[in-house]
Symmetry: C2
Subunit: 512 residues, 2 copies
Amino acid sequence: MKIKTALISVSNKNQLNNILKLFKKYKINLISSGGTYKKIRSLGYDCVEVSNYTNFPEILDGRIKTLHPKIHSGILFKRDNVSHKKTLKKLNFSSIDIVITNFYPFEKIVNQSNNHNKIIENIDIGGPTLVRAAAKNYKDVVVITKIDQYKNLIKEINSNNGNTRLKFRERMAREAFGETAHYDSIIYNYLNSKSKKEIPDKLLIYGNLLESLRYGENPHQFGAIYSNGENFNLIKLNGKDLSYNNYCDIFACLNLTKTMPKNRGVVIVKHSNPCGVSIEKNKLKSYTSAMNCDPISSFGGIVACNYKINLKTAKEIMKKYYEVIIANGFEKNALKKFKQKKNLRIIDSSDIKVKTDCSIISGVNSFLMQKNDDLIFNKKNFKIVSKTKPSRQLIDQLIFSLNVCRSVKSNAIVITQNNKTLGIGSGQPSRLDSCKIAIEKMKKFKQYNNSDPLVAASDAFFPFVDGIEKLVQAGITAVIQPFGSIRDKEIIRYANEMGIVLVFSNTRHFKH
Amino acid sequence: MKIKTALISVSNKNQLNNILKLFKKYKINLISSGGTYKKIRSLGYDCVEVSNYTNFPEILDGRIKTLHPKIHSGILFKRDNVSHKKTLKKLNFSSIDIVITNFYPFEKIVNQSNNHNKIIENIDIGGPTLVRAAAKNYKDVVVITKIDQYKNLIKEINSNNGNTRLKFRERMAREAFGETAHYDSIIYNYLNSKSKKEIPDKLLIYGNLLESLRYGENPHQFGAIYSNGENFNLIKLNGKDLSYNNYCDIFACLNLTKTMPKNRGVVIVKHSNPCGVSIEKNKLKSYTSAMNCDPISSFGGIVACNYKINLKTAKEIMKKYYEVIIANGFEKNALKKFKQKKNLRIIDSSDIKVKTDCSIISGVNSFLMQKNDDLIFNKKNFKIVSKTKPSRQLIDQLIFSLNVCRSVKSNAIVITQNNKTLGIGSGQPSRLDSCKIAIEKMKKFKQYNNSDPLVAASDAFFPFVDGIEKLVQAGITAVIQPFGSIRDKEIIRYANEMGIVLVFSNTRHFKH
């Protein structure tokens, strides 16, 4: 069954010439409409215009071109059905064996324009209909929906003497429904965002495969990463492929570094939790401060710097084993240095924009969706409840502490001094236990001085005095936490007795 | 601008009468095709058949019905465009102001049938085309795609004297693209699964809103839950609405209880981590064993029983404060007892089927997808590397230990005895610290006896001897862990020196 007739209707006309050459070779007749017809003719190929083919004009500024029974019968009739064939013969319709289409660039226009009418005009009606009809009838018809399929199509037709195999047509049909589903998901999400609907009735998520990963969280689980739009700009400059867990840790880093002042922040993450964080003008010192918070746990972790890494810092980082280094750029000699370790993954994140948005996770037969916790802390939203009042500088340190704290898995307690972490307690069902872990870490690695204040943040309220008591006994003199315990008064009283600063953040920051 | 003409083409003909009554009231003309036409006539209403309207027959067993320029021009022309109006006049086409459609039940057929041809035949082509055209032109046209919109349509038309407001049409258009995107996503995913494509080029996820939640993980984040298919069968029998965190914890419970033998497992979860797990034939004892593992942390947690709760167990559970009780059913008097606490959430999970499938999470401008870690452990896949060999019973206890361990956030160490947890160490960047936490918990709550073996599981290999050493010093005599450390030999030697059982699971079980 040779391909006799092709219908071509493409919005993006790149690389069309390759297809036309192929079709000429196999004497495939062309039907086309509007701009595509003109393009084909201008390239010097014969082509029948849809309006001549159907004997019906192209009307309504192109809104109606291919929506005609002669076109769709030619696509949709079953080639092995005698009655279908008779019908076509009776109506003097002929078969259309291949459909090549790409759609009006709805997504591009949405990203470029705020003109709603223009955006709506770019909803393609004819294209998706052709594609869906051809895809449904893939048993007999080929459907091509993307320019990057042209190469495979040419190869397929050349290797099959002007025809295609069922397997190929099936794959193209599958990808076609991927395109139409993706296209309408974008339209749906555009209309939702336009109507400011935060929680739509339907969840429609789409992504394009960025890469298949070696495996998921563990080797017996397959894994992959998909982009959400066109803005996935992590650039790998060196090293092995990123793993599923690398990506998780990178995202944990980026969500924290974005809260930090530019050009001075360092985060070291291990198992999705920060194990060392620092803000320091001096790049090298910022790194060593973060690393020294827990030099044991940081082994095999991920280092993220929100600055351009220089040679001096690179040399220091190289002294330890890490899986990934991620930074806002690398000085040439620093990159060269890193490249001495062939496997070390070096990622440039300077082009990535971390959007404030929603996130979803899979549940059992379900998905949970929520707004990200991307609140920017502001003193105005805090309530200073202790008699001792914090300085502006101390408030900043409490904000740093709380920013780290909300990126630590709950229950989380973070102790800091001068904008570097000293002890991080994570992932405990008991808040008291998280306090103990943070204090132990601080005492173990002794990165504090005895003159500056030690501050602590808690991701949720202390249910009892015991947690805050432990912290004060360890030398902490300022604490930030949300309110909400029935023992809040008791806790305030305790803070006042001890003369420490107690600030209510007014927002809780669980992270699981 | 009154609605004059309606096109109705529905696969599911329920509640059509209400619409027809309304349309008669407002003297709206009807166009319809195939089965819908017959239904309308049988209900006693006037209606023009599409083939009469277009003067073109319904052909190819209904594959071509409405795909005609007269239909689509009537939908797509711009009512405020003089040239469009002239075109319609010239062609003697008239306006179609409302489209009521629902699609061939593709999803239902996929769930019912393995007949691929039948499934493909249920890909609707005409319906989505009508819907997309009408939705694009929502400025002038109403599109109805779901039976549950009929009520609103009737209200809208009645309150607007036979017309609709732009706002209403826009909402219907948004929901229409939700339907088409959803429909094609299902087709895409069906074709992917048919071709056994584990990692498709596109990620297309869809869900229907189950409920908007009070908030997400924290009060300043909005949140919602969406069903993935028709199988979300958690039934709430009592109590307040479930929160985002409740759902997370319920899913953590279900993923663990499904690994346990039926009618005897109890899991208590707090902050997504188990803090007490037990398998015991006696229901009451199974609960108390799980609870006693960490009676402090379990406060405010979630209790999941994979059995039907009886009164005796209910009474015991009621002694403590929990957020949610979830079980495979409740005996009548047990449920009555629970209902004394008006706010206590009581969830029946007996109808839920936890599918083995993939899961996704949001990353920065991306999604990570992976196969779930739902491996069923089998002795055959383990390697016993110590000289001391475990009994069949001890292997079972190690499997229990490892099942709990893989549901604990990494790094995870779990100590158990007789299929109940004694100490759980979670969420630490250092494996040694997780060991210490697990041992401390065990020592604190002293739920062990001195005659039966204490066993431990680690989600990943021990990098050094120190972790396993700590466990052995605390009395553990059997350990299961994956292999992979460069010090594996050293660890095996240590195990043999101490005479303990050491089993390599061969699979790692990180969970973040």
